[in-house]
Point group: C2
Chain length 341, copies 2
C-alpha cells in the first residue's frame, strides 16, 4: 500500500469507530501516522480516563513469573456479572456499527471507579491487520468466543489458553451454574458453525442487564445528591469572593460611605460578625457551620436581623440580612461600574 492510500484507510477506520459512542467503549476521535518519533508511528487519539487501571492490573497480579496462575483473590460473582453486562453492551454497540472488537483482552480493558469497564484499543487491529480479511460475521463470532475466554480467565484466575477444561472446572466450583452456562455459551462460539449474534446473548442475560441498570441508576442518584450538596459550595464561594473583592479595598479607605456610620460600614462589620467572632474568654470561634449558615441567610436575603458591633464596642448596628444583601449588591454594582470604565 502506498502512503496516500494507507492514510486514507487509517482515516476511514477512525471514521467508522467514531460512530461508536458507547459508555463502555473508549471513544476514538482521530487516527493518523506521524514521523516525529523517528519512525512512522501510528497515532490514535482517544478519550483519556484518568486513574484508570486495566482488568489485568486489577485481577492478574503475578504470584510468580514462572506461572500462569495468579495470587489475587477470587472475583466476586456480582462483579463478574457487571463486567459481562457492560462488555455485552459495548459489543452490541460495536456490532451494530458494522464493526468487530477483535481485541478483548484483560490487559486492554480499562477499569475506572465502581467496576466500570471500557473496551480500548479495538480500532488498532482494523488498521494494522487491514490486510487480513476474515468476514465481519466471522470477526463478530470470534468476539463472542474471546468474550467467553476473558470471563473464564477472570473467573478461574488463569490466563493460560491451553487448559480450558481445567479452568472451566475451577470456574464451575466457584460460580453459579447460570454463570457457567452463560460462559460456556460464549466459548462455544469458537466453532464457525455457530451463528448467534450479540442480540441472542443479550436475550440470554436480560435479567442481569436490569440489575446492572438498577446499580447504575442508584449510582447516578448518589452522584446527583452529592452534586446538589457541592453546588451549594459554589454558590457560597461566589458570594464570599464578592465580599473579599469589596472589603478592605485601599480605594475605600478614605471613602465616607465606609467610615463609621457610613451606610457601607455594615459590610465590614458583617465580615467581623461572620469570621472574627470570639467567645466570652475572647478565644476565636472557628465554626464553619456559623460561616455557611450566615452566608446562606445572606444569599437568601431573609428578614432575620442581627446585631453588628463596631470594634470599639461603642456602637451597635441592628440590621437584617435583607438590608445587608442590598448593601453588598449596591457596592458590588458600584465596583463593577468602576471596573468597566
Amino acid at each position: 500500500m502506498n502512503d496516500v492510500s494507507s492514510e486514507h484507510a487509517i482515516k476511514s477506520v477512525a471514521d467508522n469507530w467514531k460512530r461508536v459512542r458507547n459508555a463502555n467503549v473508549v471513544s476514538v476521535h482521530l487516527a493518523f501516522t506521524d514521523s516525529s518519533f523517528g519512525d512512522r508511528s501510528l497515532i490514535f487519539v482517544t478519550d483519556y480516563h484518568p486513574a484508570a487501571e486495566t482488568l489485568a492490573q486489577r485481577h492478574f497480579s503475578p504470584a510468580s513469573r514462572f506461572s500462569n496462575r495468579y495470587s489475587s483473590a477470587i472475583v466476586p460473582e456480582p462483579v463478574l456479572w457487571g463486567y459481562i453486562v457492560q462488555i455485552a453492551s459495548a459489543l452490541k454497540a460495536i456490532h451494530s456499527a458494522g464493526l468487530a472488537a477483535r481485541v478483548l483482552d484483560a490487559s486492554k480493558i480499562l477499569l475506572t471507579g465502581e467496576n466500570r469497564v471500557r473496551l480500548n484499543a479495538c480500532a488498532i487491529l482494523d488498521v494494522v491487520q487491514a490486510d487480513v480479511h476474515p468476514s465481519l460475521a466471522d470477526n463478530q463470532r470470534t468476539d463472542l468466543y474471546l468474550f467467553g475466554r476473558l470471563i473464564l480467565a477472570l473467573g478461574s484466575n488463569n490466563t493460560s489458553q491451553h487448559s480450558q477444561g481445567k479452568a472451566m472446572e475451577a470456574f464451575g466450583r466457584t460460580y453459579t451454574p447460570r454463570l457457567k452456562e452463560v460462559t460456556t455459551w460464549l466459548l462455544d462460539h469458537i466453532s464457525p458453525q455457530r451463528s448467534d449474534s450479540i442480540d441472542d446473548f443479550l436475550t440470554l442475560i436480560a435479567s442481569d442487564i436490569v440489575t446492572t441498570l438498577d446499580n447504575s441508576l442508584h449510582q447516578a442518584d448518589a452522584l446527583e445528591s452529592d452534586l446538589a450538596r457541592e453546588l451549594e459550595n459554589s454558590r457560597i464561594l461566589r458570594l464570599l469572593t464578592k465580599m473579599n473583592f469589596i472589603n478592605e479595598r485601599p480605594e475605600y479607605e478614605h471613602d465616607r460611605q465606609w467610615a463609621e456610620h457610613g451606610n457601607r460600614y455594615c459590610i465590614k462589620l458583617f465580615r467581623d460578625y461572620v469570621f472574627h467572632a470570639v467567645d466570652a474568654q475572647r478565644n476565636p470561634l472557628l465554626d464553619m457551620g456559623h460561616v455557611v449558615g450566615c452566608l446562606n441567610k445572606l444569599d437568601a436575603g431573609i428578614e432575620e436581623k442581627i446585631m453588628l458591633t463596631t470594634r470599639d464596642e461603642e456602637t451597635v448596628i441592628y440590621v437584617s440580612y435583607k438590608e445587608l444583601k442590598a448593601c453588598i449588591e449596591a457596592t458590588w454594582q458600584d465596583l463593577m461600574r468602576r471596573a468597566a470604565t
Copy 2:
C-alpha cells in the same frame, strides 16, 4: 379485623415493601395508622423526591374537560422505551420480592430529571384491599396488562379504557412495529390463560434495556465530571474561609508579627494581590479566573514566586506560593490552638 391485627397487617405490608429497593420504585419506610387528623388515617412514610411531577401531569394536560383526549405533543419513541425499560426493571424487583405493583397509573408514577420514572403508591392497595385476595400470580399477570395499558395511554394520548382498538390503531401509526408488538404482548395479559413472567418480558426487550443502561452510564459520567469540577469549589471555599478567619482579626491589630516587615504581613498583602488588584488606570480588576488561579496555586503550594506590594508602595516582598502556604498554615494552627483553649 380488629385494630391490633390490622396494625399488625399494615406493618407486615410495609415490611414486605421495605425489601424492594429499586431505583425505579419509591422506597417505602414505614406504614401506620394515626388519629391526629380526626379520623383513622393510614400513613405511609416513603422517600421524598423533590420537584417530581407525575407522568399524567407531564403527558396528559387536558385540552377540554369533556374529552378523554389531550392536547399535548406525542411522546417520542425513545422516551417511551425509556419508560418501558424502567417500569420493567421496577416490576422485576417487585415480582422478585413476591409482590405485585397493582397500581400502574400515569397519575401515580413520578417523573424526575431526565425521564427518570419511579412507581409510587404500590403498597397502599396491599393494605386497603387486603381483604380482596386474587392469587399473587394473578396480580402479577394483571401488572403486565396494566403496564401495557399505561404505555398505550401514553402513546395514543388517550386514557379512555373503552376504545382500546382505536387507541391501538393511532399507536401503530405513530410508533415502530416493534413497540406496537411489545405493547400488544403486554395487553394480551388481560387473559388469565397467559402465564408469562416479567422475566419473559425482559428477554423480549433485552436490547432496549442495554440502550437505557448506556444512557444511564453516560448520565453518570456527566454527573461525575460535573461533580469533579464542583469539588474544586469546595476546596477553594475552605481555603478562602481560612484566609477570612485569619485576615483583619482585631486581635492581630497590634501584633508585631502582622506589622510591616512582620512575617505574617504577607498574608494580608496576598489578599490584596488576589482581590484588590487594579489596572494601570487604577480601575478595579474583578477577575474570578485570577482569584481561582491564585488560590489553586496557593493550595498546591508551588514554587512560583509573586511580588506583593505594600499599600504605601514603598516595599515589595518577593515570596513563593509555597512560603505563603506555610505562613497561612502556621497562622491557622496558631488560631486553632487559641480557639481550643
